[in-house]
Symmetry: C2
Subunit: 531 residues, 2 copies
């Protein structure tokens, strides 16, 4: 709330904003100060004059979310567009694997999906946050149906070899015992006002009343104490008649501290993009890709008609009047190029970029990522564990076990039996598929003793994204903050080449970033041709 180092009242600041930028800036100021309750949403697919691109051409490298977004917008604005995709599959990491589908990591045998009909694995991303308004607006407009994705059920499990003898424990128990213990400590503080300058001695009663609710504390005389709470759950659930159930015994703070749950899994559902509620496309993540491909563009065509597949890019050269792209199936001359390739991959393509730009490309780091999918013999997690969606967390290398948020009660289902990145993904990626299966079974057993009997090990699918052709990893980790200089350089077009992709956004690793970055790239081209 400081402005040039001087404190400023809200009214003073708003006046200044209005003076600087008109009503729009004042609105922005209101929002910033939190006086408006709801952040603004993405306005949906931008509509531009249909002839603004007439006579101009753009070649787009990559038919993932960013490339398809840019292609759709540019074609609708009258540009001549071609999208060049290295792989046979359109959609990039939005890969949904269904029975009969296949793929192969570099130098490995083809992996064929042998699930029962109707089942699928989202081998890449699997969920969309409710506040990712760009991707949601596109889905709404393109008719892609959404359903809830459960990120965290309180019946999900935490397991660590370092805690509670290695036994899995329900998330509800760790969450609420910890909360209760902390709340009890605060209730013992003799003078809370000494720890928070905003409150006074008169607020002490309200403070204690709030803590009682915050931590599910019990009053014992004038003390507030934490004892087993129904929030933390029951070892024997209540029933009818004279059966009040039995609460879990409460865990001591020491036990909670000694566990490493608070380092992994326990607080993840508070991360902005994992906060309830999330969504998934009905029928698989690639339904979004299909929505884009079916979108109408001028000339009675669809976005699908713009895409050339199986054609890796070999050369990208800025010329005085445009850009030349050489790829496996031909040579394109265009006014502009939008590359959605991972920066590290683009850096290895023959080019005439200036050194600072070429160097910046190499400084965006790729993150290894691994997933494994199981078809289960039956939905044991629903029947035995009261788990209907969400994720269990373990310190075993599988890291995460995802349960389906749809098709409850059905005969079978697909579990994401491992999802990890970094060192654990490298570990899995270096193994053969049978070795991955064996390791993931071990992880499943940690969470669900008997797991090995309840999954079809001969139908497992594994994918190490850093081994996939033309993918250097699962995503690029936090480019804007890890190398701000390189990131800033890449936001500026290099001649007639501009970049798009989630890596060029503050939503790296998310479709939201891909779409918003494509919006920017398209706008930059539209601005140029409008001058």
């Amino acid at each position: 709330m400081n402005w040039n180092g001087r404190p400023m009242t809200r009214r003073g600041l708003l006046g200044r904003l209005a003076a600087l930028g008109g009503a729009g800036a004042a609105y922005h100021g209101l929002t910033t100060l939190g006086l408006l309750a709801i952040p603004p949403a993405h306005a949906g697919i931008p509509v531009r004059p249909a002839d603004i691109g007439a006579g101009r051409s753009v070649v787009i490298l990559g038919a993932g979310m960013a490339g398809l977004t840019a292609g759709l917008q540019l074609a609708r604005a009258g540009f001549d567009v071609k999208i060049v995709e290295a792989n046979g599959h359109i959609g990039g990491r939005s890969l949904t694997v269904r029975p009969g589908d296949s793929y192969a990591e570099v130098g490995r045998e083809k992996m064929v999906c042998r699930f029962d009909d109707g089942l699928y694995l989202n081998a890449g991303p699997g969920r969309i946050p409710h506040h990712h308004t760009a991707v949601l607006e596109y889905c709404r407009t393109l008719g892609v149906a959404m359903e809830p994705y459960i990120f965290a059920s309180r019946a999900n499990l935490l397991q660590s070899d370092q805690a509670l003898g290695g036994q899995p424990v329900q998330l509800r128990r760790i969450k609420h015992d910890l909360r209760g213990r902390l709340s009890e400590m605060l209730a013992k503080v003799p003078d809370p006002a000494a720890l928070d300058a905003s409150i006074t001695a008169e607020d002490h009663a309200a403070f204690k009343g709030m803590l009682e609710q915050f931590g599910a504390l019990n009053r014992q005389g004038d003390r507030l104490v934490y004892r087993s709470s129904s929030r933390a759950g029951y070892s024997v659930p209540p029933g009818a008649g004279r059966d009040p159930g039995t609460l879990y015994p409460d865990l001591e703070l020491k036990t909670l501290l000694d566990s490493d749950f608070w380092r992994n899994g326990l607080f993840n559902d508070m991360t902005d993009y994992w906060q309830t509620s999330l969504m998934q496309p009905v029928g698989g993540m690639d339904m979004i890709v299909k929505g884009f491909l079916a979108a109408a563009i001028p000339g009675g065509r669809t976005v699908r008609d713009l895409v050339v597949t199986e054609s890796p890019v070999r050369e990208v050269v800025n010329t005085e009047t445009g850009v030349v792209v050489v790829h496996a199936k031909g040579r394109e001359q265009a006014d502009y190029c939008i590359s959605t390739m991972a920066p590290s991959v683009l850096a290895r393509v023959k080019n005439n970029f200036r050194p600072a730009y070429a160097d910046a490309l190499t400084r965006i780091q790729d993150t290894p990522a691994f997933k494994l999918g199981w078809q289960a013999t039956h939905r044991f997690w629903e029947e035995n564990d009261q788990i209907y969606g969400g994720i269990s967390w373990t310190d075993h290398p599988i890291t995460q076990l995802w349960y389906p948020s749809d098709s409850y009660f059905s005969k079978t289902g697909v579990l994401t039996g491992a999802y990890n990145s970094g060192a654990n993904a490298q570990l899995f990626g270096a193994l053969s598929h049978p070795e991955r299966v064996a390791l993931a079974l071990e992880g499943g057993e940690k969470l669900h003793p008997g797991f090995s009997n309840w999954v079809h090990r001969d139908r497992a699918l594994s994918i190490a994204w850093h081994n996939m052709p033309h993918f250097p990893g699962g995503w690029q980790n936090n480019p804007p903050e890890l190398d701000p200089q390189a990131y800033a350089r890449l936001t500026v077009p290099e001649g007639n080449v501009m970049l798009a992709g989630d890596f060029l956004s503050y939503w790296w690793g998310w479709k939201e970033g891909a779409i918003r970055s494509a919006d920017l790239a398209v706008q930059a081209i539209v601005d140029r041709v409008s001058q």
Copy 2:
């Protein structure tokens, strides 16, 4: 962990439990001590010898969840069963109102549903907790499909005339600012071990590390402080390129204390039965009723064939050999009677119960409950507010505003525009329907300015359960704890009459209690005929 006042080790306790009750008790002990991670589930519809009831008859009063459960089980066990229902509608409070459906409160005009085709309002219960294993096992067995019900999205709103100038504010902001503030206070405590005996000075670093995660604190030198966090959200969301977004300014603890959010709405998603994940039957809550009615029983019949509707009970009399029930359509003589009527309603039926039992019936208190449903002109909560399911809370009498967890992106939808109990329900219940509509519009405006333009006020549905014929209220509030003596008395059969219903359980107000209480009543009858 004390046993007769003496501390006992776990091993000692387990040995003692085993000595007292065999392996079952030892298992129970293991669970109680929290050494088993997952509480046991309901075993599903009990299977009994198909002829154990041969030649015996049972009359059941009420065709709600408890009555249908008891009828299904008894018929399958060979009993001659009749279910007598006072209303024309089968299913009790599991009332799903669809276009063309109608109902009427006592002394009022018929309310006709004028929603568009395909829409519905769950006028009674709307959700099922994931740990309500009895109702879920029945649904699984009876083929009733379930889908996620979102109880709390972090985009849901809190609104209070007492806080933040009456403006609605996103749940994420209040939750995480409060958490951060409390965490920051704890990080300032010089000697945490003095406030919690389980930890020592050596644990101080781990304690601080945990607080950093718990509250999203920032390190400033060796201090941990709370500043606006991405958990609490953005007034301007991050985007692509050079657009990092703007965090909401953090709220002071004083502001959070002065608001009454912590008294209402803020912590509800921690209550055991509202913890994520919850479910709803696909297509409406009465799909469960339909599942029960279609369930096969001997003789090529279904449960539907057992039910007589529109037949209020006038008399229930124990005889030396059984029971006589007189109702509007006839007179039943049976060996046993299970009454699922609300205790206060049964008390007013002519009977020959002993005084202590008759008195106990009158001591179970009914709770008024009110709901109002709107058809919206469009899904403004999705488009404007990023709300995909969940509930917003206000101190206006509507109390709650529910958003649909299904059919995202569709053209329209049904909002539960008021849901309350107690004094607010009495307030609404005393109003005419047009007055209710006007009051609920006012509440909607508090949460969503413009609300009145976005709902079809001529299609609203309202229901005050305490005004509905044969329903004394929405439920009976906490019978086991509010009057333990009366409750205990009612768990014992009165002659050949026994009770069932959610009021006779620790899950009062929930289907889970109705089903588990019916299980117990049926078992009591089976035990008697087996002697």
